[in-house]
């Protein structure tokens, strides 16, 4: 038999090989017609049972899955969902059929959407539909009972709760005739590392047989030839070895091939991201965004609430009883990050507006609360590692003004008998004016915000997809500014790091190291691959010794 190749879209990368298992469609058992009142009662009970099942799954699911199930629950608890079904039942339509038709109509509406995100939600509706049908049939939901074997599963589409009901501990893969890379189940597959291809466009039955799945390329080979199989196994071995090497090296310091150590720091948007992370993964925290503190309940966070959050992060970063650097950025609202009641509304170009330190100095009463919380955290456990960083600094006077505020608040805290200490004060380098005239600034450290620096140097908005090629952090003009900042830092004994997206991009790392940077801050998930890439860089080669 000759092999067959099919091409779909990658929804979750990875390789898998083995026999294909079809995902059986759950179906409702036939049941004698009930009078309308009894049928309506049966549907109501089935819906409430389905809601109970989903609520139970929420309690045991990871946050991403719980969010998705919460959406299903919200739909199921909304009277509008079953309005059409109850109307049909009142006209004598059996409960199963009435529910199925009402939900199918709703699903068709989603599938007809122009926007892929909305189309992808059809799978959630199907999930809700099937769960209620199962409950009407009086059986266990296929989703709730761990009925499904894992392995390489083929289906038209896979509802998220069925994915969650399967055992993926032995690996597997998902091949879908339809589906979408932006669906909830694709998100779950990526987070669990299960390879997944969508949009194969053939009936699931057509995939039956032994298959090789290259979900990175979106390709499936059915009944592969021995040569294809050997090539695939070689690729799988290489991939496995690379992933194992990256994972094994993730907790070790990063040193380039020529022996230059590079500090790897973490970007943190929410302290919850640190839960379950081994502090050995990093050399400290290079950026704590504090915007998350300002997003709740419409109220600005108080001094004590902020201090507690900062203290928790400082404690996490301690290792062997030793404080390690934790760089906390003062509020960086404005630009594309508005905060109701705080940021200026109606700016014609918010990226060039009252944002970052400009906003903090314009709203001193808010800024002082954050500075007091930071001063107090600096006197607590791990506090000697605290570094405070100002965003969007444009002129030296902004740093001087902040120093004056810190001194005032430090004195006020001392007078009030509260322990406090003055942390290091540094600046983000993201406005070209600061990068070009870096020698005029008195700051304890610099951190390059490469995303904003790139958009300001190239005059290419980072929210404009059509300009993505222009907004290149490796543009020579950007790299020259980074080099200038790194040289100033080296000459004046100030630490220099970089905390934009480029810092975690393996392809960008060699060029960044050649500017003289020796500290990079990135999202925790990017660390293993970035450390592997850093170890492959040879700074001695081609630059003399």
């Amino acid at each position: 038999m000759s092999e067959t190749r099919l091409q779909g879209r990658s929804a979750s990368p990875g390789l898998a090989a083995g026999p294909v298992v079809l995902l059986a469609a759950p179906r409702a058992a036939a049941r004698p017609a009930l009078d309308p009142d009894a049928a309506a009662g049966a549907l109501r009970r089935a819906m409430s049972r389905a809601a109970g099942e989903i609520a139970a799954l929420v309690a045991t699911s990871e946050p991403a899955a719980a969010d998705m199930l919460g959406f299903q629950l919200a739909l199921l608890e909304d009277d509008a969902l079953a309005e059409g079904a109850f109307h049909a039942i009142s006209l004598g339509v059996p409960a199963e059929l009435a529910w199925q038709q009402a939900l199918d109509a709703e699903i068709a509406g989603y599938e007809a959407a122009e926007d892929e995100y909305f189309r992808a939600r059809a799978a959630d509706l199907m999930d809700v539909r099937d769960r209620v049908l199962d409950a009407l049939a009086g059986g266990d939901s296929g989703a709730g009972s761990g009925a499904a074997a894992s392995g390489i599963v083929a289906a038209h589409d896979l509802p998220p709760s069925r994915f969650l009901g399967m055992d993926w501990s032995a690996g597997g893969a998902i091949l879908l005739a339809g589906g979408s890379p932006t669906s909830h189940v694709a998100m779950l597959a990526r987070s669990r590392g299960i390879p997944m291809i969508v949009g194969l466009g053939v009936a699931p039955e057509a995939l039956l047989g032994e298959v090789l799945v290259d979900a990175t390329a979106g390709a499936v080979v059915i009944d592969p030839s021995p040569e294809t199989r050997r090539a695939f196994e070689r690729q799988r071995e290489l991939d496995g070895r690379r992933a194992a090497t990256e994972a094994a090296g993730a907790l070790e310091p990063a040193v380039t091939r020529d022996g230059t150590p590079v500090a790897v720091l973490l970007n943190v948007a929410d302290p919850a991201e640190l839960d379950g992370l081994d502090p050995a993964l990093c050399d400290g925290i290079g950026l704590v965004r504090t915007e998350f503190l300002f997003h709740d309940a419409g109220a600005l966070p108080g001094e004590e609430a902020q201090r507690a959050v900062y203290a928790r992060i400082l404690a996490w970063a301690c290792r062997d009883g030793r404080a390690r650097p934790v760089t906390i950025r003062t509020l960086d609202a404005g630009g594309d990050k508005p905060i109701a009641g705080l940021t200026v509304e109606g700016e014609s170009n918010p990226f060039l507006g009252v944002r970052g330190i400009r906003l903090s100095l314009a709203r001193e009463e808010v800024f002082r609360v954050q500075l007091r919380a930071l001063l107090r955290a600096a006197a607590g456990p791990g506090g000697t590692g605290l570094k405070v960083m100002l965003p969007m600094v444009t002129v030296p006077a902004e740093v001087a003004r902040t120093r004056a505020l810190l001194a005032q608040e430090l004195a006020a805290l001392a007078a009030a008998g509260l322990p406090a200490a003055l942390p290091a004060l540094g600046i983000m380098i993201e406005v070209p004016a600061a990068a070009i005239a870096i020698d005029l600034f008195e700051a304890d450290f610099y951190s390059v915000g490469s995303n904003d620096l790139t958009q300001y140097v190239t005059a290419a908005g980072r929210d404009i997809g059509a300009l993505a090629d222009l907004a290149d952090p490796l543009n020579p003009a950007v790299l020259r500014l980074v080099e200038r900042v790194a040289q100033d830092g080296a000459a004046r004994g100030r630490e220099v790091s970089l905390c934009g997206d480029a810092g975690g991009d393996p392809a960008a790392l060699p060029a960044l190291l050649r500017t003289g940077l020796r500290a990079l801050s990135m999202a925790p998930g990017l660390v293993p691959a970035a450390k592997a890439a850093l170890r492959a860089v040879d700074l001695a080669g081609g630059r003399g010794r």
Binding site: A74, D78, F118, R121, G298, P338, E345, D452
Partner: protein
């Protein structure tokens, strides 16, 4: 009931951008989160709406058509994508507060999008 003076919505309407009448209020806000008003944002919006006693409706235009802001099913049917201006109108004792809170939620991008272009330095 007053009409909002910010027909293009968005940046103009904060908590102060909702205009309150005696027991009615209106407001509008520009959807700027990447994925529009879909699953999670819809749930957040309806949950917030349900925390108010006022009858609240949301529409894609200042003249409607209007749908119940407390129904996730109906909100999802609207399929409001990024760049849409959402209009809110409410009737009831806490109508002004409700509209202000909903406008603020939309403007905060539903407290989402920590990743992607929206938040990195």
């Amino acid at each position: 009931m007053n009409a909002t003076s910010h027909p293009t919505g968005g940046s103009a309407a904060g908590p102060s951008g909702a205009d309150a009448g005696e027991a009615g209020a209106r407001g509008s806000a520009l959807l700027t989160n990447a994925v529009g008003l879909h699953a999670r944002p819809s749930v957040k919006l309806t949950q917030l709406a349900k925390s108010f006693a006022a009858a609240i409706e949301v529409g894609l235009g200042a003249e409607g058509p209007w749908v119940d802001a407390k129904s996730p099913v109906k909100i999802m049917r609207v399929k409001a994508g990024k760049g849409t201006v959402l209009h809110f109108r409410a009737e009831g004792p806490d109508a002004a507060a409700a509209v202000a809170a909903l406008v603020a939620l939309v403007e905060r991008r539903f407290d989402e999008e920590e990743s992607g272009h929206g938040d990195a330095p």
